[in-house]
């Protein structure tokens, strides 16, 4: 892979070639200038923000974009600095990164892996982006992560919850701050057992694709370890909107808990159906019937309105957290945009800062140097407490929030309340855990590209 993806845009824009004179063609050869893909020039460095702007996850994507723009502002020393002030690492000082101004390009993933890769490739090939971040689904995350591995740039994943991203599909150039299905299961199960008892029979409705599978697997494993029994599990098509025929049989199935392994629109509609069929008020096996939504998204939960009240789930981050970092982020985001940020916004903001920090600490934009700086890096002050970027699988380990739909919301943003902060030790797992693809899955070698 001697001369793969040779792209010299950064160099050009900084003006080194511009003076070479119009008439003389310059032919770049493989090893002439750069040591790695899209090595930035002296003046600026470009990030690629690749988020869904159309399709069902557009709102989350746009919220990610807001946070990313905010992060760029903070890195360049504008605004109030946000989490830079609370971040445990102090190498970022608001003068850009390694003296370069941070610029960015944006693209639309459409929540389709083809479109996401096309958009990412255009950022790498045309705009000279040094890093790609964002996204709101695991399919896209895995696809773009593989692309970045191949092209030799760093991928800082956005919202992706499937185990696969840092499990069986992990890559040396890819990093995930967001939590995953396994962590959700490990955090949620004890809370559920405490709330609902250990003698429970669960019925799973699972979105029929990879994320659904890993989430169901994780929740089943964790709840069954607590003594729950899984009476049935039914896969539902991603494109389903009316879940009545899936929800109707639940009440007479002998189950007393319904687990909705659904996200986004699926979650809104299945939850709505479940509530319409009276599951929330029903009794089964002499106990109150309960509904669980493993992965909550506050943005999406708004679409389910009243129906989320009292329903347990987990989330990566919530704006109501009282730690310094979260407060600082909510303050600067809220001041700029007028509403609190979502967990998707939070994770991309943090990822952008973490990348910038790693570059600064490494003293280089070279992907392998950055990766090394991120690996096994411990930090604090970014809203989730003490966090470890584990080197074995490039997954962040941090406390997990177990949340519940709020009974008496005070505003349209105030939908969830944090029930418990599950300590990180409880959600830790072995990198070769079977749910993570086992021992066979490896990161591979980091790739500097050119």
């Amino acid at each position: 892979m001697s001369n793969n993806n040779v792209t010299r845009r950064g160099v050009l824009k900084s003006g080194t070639v511009a003076g070479a004179g119009l008439a003389i063609p310059t032919i770049f050869t493989a090893s002439s200038v750069a040591a790695y893909t899209n090595e930035p020039g002296a003046g600026s460095v470009k990030f690629g923000f690749n988020v869904p702007q159309t399709g069902p996850y557009a709102e989350e994507g746009l919220d990610e974009l807001r946070a990313q723009e905010l992060a760029v502002e903070h890195l360049n020393g504008m605004g109030d600095g946000g989490m830079l002030n609370t971040f445990s690492s102090k190498v970022l000082d608001g003068t850009g990164i390694l003296g370069r101004e941070v610029k960015y390009v944006t693209g639309d993933t459409q929540t389709k892996s083809d479109a996401a890769r096309a958009s990412a490739r255009s950022m790498i090939e045309k705009d000279g982006a040094i890093m790609i971040t964002g996204g709101s689904s695991s399919g896209v995350a895995v696809a773009v992560q593989a692309l970045c591995q191949e092209a030799g740039v760093i991928f800082m994943a956005g919202l992706t919850h499937s185990n696969d991203t840092t499990g069986k599909d992990k890559k040396a150039n890819g990093f995930r701050h967001f939590f995953n299905s396994y962590m959700t299961g490990a955090a949620l199960a004890p809370v559920l057992a405490a709330q609902y008892g250990t003698d429970r029979k669960a019925y799973h409705l699972t979105a029929d694709y990879n994320w659904g599978y890993t989430t169901e697997e994780a929740i089943r494993a964790s709840t069954e370890a607590m003594g729950w029994e899984t009476v049935n599990s039914v896969k539902t098509p991603l494109t389903q909107t009316d879940f009545s025929s899936y929800v109707a049989p639940v009440l007479n199935s002998g189950a007393d808990v319904l687990v909705l392994n659904h996200y986004g629109g699926n979650m809104i509609n299945s939850l709505t159906s479940a509530v319409q069929f009276g599951l929330r008020e029903a009794q089964a096996n002499g106990q109150n019937f309960e509904i669980v939504v493993p992965l909550y998204s506050r943005l999406m939960a708004r679409g389910a309105g009243e129906n989320v009240k009292g329903i347990f789930g987990s989330t990566n981050w919530h704006w109501s957290l009282q730690d310094e970092g979260s407060q600082a982020f909510v303050r600067s985001f809220g001041t700029k945009y007028g509403f609190p940020p979502s967990q998707a916004a939070h994770t991309t903001y943090v990822q952008t800062l973490l990348y910038a920090d790693a570059v600064t600490r490494a003293g280089s934009f070279a992907p392998c140097a950055v990766a090394e700086a991120l690996e096994d890096y411990e930090f604090d002050g970014l809203g989730n407490g003490k966090t470890l970027y584990r080197g074995d699988d490039h997954q962040c380990f941090k406390d997990v929030l177990v949340v519940k739909g709020k009974e008496n919301p005070e505003s349209e943003f105030d939908l969830l309340e944090v029930v418990e902060v599950t300590p990180v030790d409880q959600v830790m797992y072995d990198p070769a855990h079977p749910q993570m693809g086992g021992a066979e899955a490896t990161l591979g070698e980091c790739n500097n590209g050119a």
Binding site: M1, N3, N4, N5, T7, R8, L12, K13, A18, A20, L22, I24, P25, T26, I27, F28, T29, Q53, T54, L62, E69, Y104, V105, T106, G107, D108, K112, S113, D114, A115, R117, A118, S119, R121, S122, E125, K126, S137, S138, G139, V142, A143, A146, Q149, E150, A151, S162, D164, D169, D208, Y209, N210, K235, P237, L238, T239, A441, T442, G444, E445
Partner: protein, 420 residues
């Protein structure tokens, strides 16, 4: 490029052999073919008209990924046009063939060899076979009933690939080459991730030419795909001008007469269907060769709809129309969606502050997250004002500017009827 007509006059038997043609094509087709070859070869220049770093550089499309997409979707649309443009059978499930071709190609790369040639050939065969099976059943019906049958098969393929067939298709996350893959012939031994190549030369290989502030990228993958498109385009011209092509147009025109002339319209249509399935398989194989990953949404009905729209937008039944349609849709998708507010502010920075904000707000309705809006409006405008698609637009423009030239040219060919 104004001679995009399906009906070329057939020279009288007494006339001397076709004048001026090459490659076994008539003179006009030769011109068109040479123009297309020229455009394709020089695409890295043509698509990068703006200097790096200038405000307009946003509109440059001369980077490998998009150039590859232009020619690959061009192939797809050319193939679709052989079916739809000639026989009038509207397949609403063509993305399925693109998808199975892609899956076939990636499995070839994963299991057999990282060389793209077998992968592409395999994709063509699988695409063609899949088309044969679906065509055989769907062609029992015609008109919209045929369309819905093809749609149903494609949607089934999508749904299965997304869910129950996950072990074969990778489900939602699709398939990529992994470092654990161990192809029979010549995989990497150092545990790195294999890359698609052509006898060792990787698809990502490029060299760049800097002239002043311009940078032009010449990418190996693009030229391989471009070669495939030129061959595909050439074959489509030959098919259009062949007895078989006339038969396909006869299918569209009057199947009853065909039957009573001793011909089997269904068999002709099936062959057209399989050929266009092979074109789709080729496109799918090339997509994987250029960018080694497949996702099931490649087979979703919107992808099939996109193929239909590319063809109609460019001009169904014309030779070059589908390629133009494919290019313009992919251009909008990849260029418009990347224009964000920041970029707009840069463009309109020279305006006074208040005005700048107003202009940016207005312009932002059409780009960035709203690029679909522009797409919808363009569809409507084209179909309202240019019933023959973009080709008709090109013809009108050249008719306006080239009238003088035409006048001297009429003796040559009075029968060049407009494209349909």
């Amino acid at each position: 490029m104004t001679d995009q007509t399906t009906q070329t006059p057939i020279a009288a038997a007494s006339a001397s052999s076709s004048k001026g043609g090459m490659f076994g094509l008539a003179a006009k087709d030769t011109t068109l073919f040479l123009v297309v070859i020229g455009l394709v070869i020089f695409a890295p220049f043509i698509l990068n008209p703006f200097p790096e770093g200038s405000a307009m550089a946003q509109f440059n499309a001369g980077y490998p990924d998009l150039m590859q997409r232009f020619v690959i979707f061009g192939i797809l649309a050319i193939g679709f046009n052989i079916l739809f443009g000639l026989t009038g059978y509207l397949s609403f499930g063509h993305a399925a063939f693109l998808g199975v071709g892609s899956y076939a190609a990636i499995w070839s790369l994963k299991l057999f060899t990282l060389n793209v040639i077998p992968a592409i050939l395999f994709a063509i065969v699988v695409g063609g076979f899949f088309a044969w099976v679906i065509g055989k059943i769907s062609l029992k019906r015609s008109g919209i009933y045929f369309s819905i049958l093809t749609l149903a098969f494609a949607q089934m393929s999508f749904a299965m690939a997304y869910s129950v067939l996950t072990p074969i298709t990778g489900g939602e996350t699709g398939l990529q080459i992994k470092n654990t893959d161990n192809p029979l012939i010549g995989g990497p031994t150092d545990g790195s991730i294999g890359r698609a190549n052509l006898f060792g030369a990787e698809m990502g290989n490029s060299f760049e030419l800097g002239i002043g502030n311009w940078v032009f990228t010449f990418n190996l993958g693009y030229y391989i795909a471009a070669f495939a498109m030129i061959v595909a385009f050439y074959l489509s011209i030959r098919i259009f001008r062949s007895p078989f092509g006339i038969m396909l147009r006869a299918v569209k025109s009057n199947q009853n007469r065909m039957n009573y002339t001793g011909l089997t319209p269904k068999v002709y249509t099936l062959y057209a269907f399989v050929i266009s399935g092979m074109y789709a398989g080729l496109a799918g194989g090339l997509m994987v060769a250029m960018d080694t990953q497949v996702g099931p949404e490649r087979m979703f009905w919107t992808a099939s709809g996109e193929i239909v729209i590319m063809t109609i937008l460019g001009g169904a039944g014309t030779l070059i129309g589908p390629v133009l349609g494919a290019g313009s849709i992919k251009y909008m998708e990849n260029i418009l969606s990347k224009i964000n507010k920041d970029v707009l502010h840069q463009w309109f920075a020279m305006l006074p502050d208040g005005l700048e904000d107003v202009v940016v707000e207005f312009a932002y309705i059409f780009v960035g997250k709203q690029w679909h809006f522009t797409l919808g409006i363009v569809f409507m405008l084209v179909v309202i004002f240019l019933p023959g698609g973009l080709v008709e637009g090109a013809q009108r423009v050249s008719a306006r500017f080239g009238r003088k030239k035409k006048a001297t040219d009429t003796t040559d060919n009075s029968a060049s009827t407009s494209a349909e």
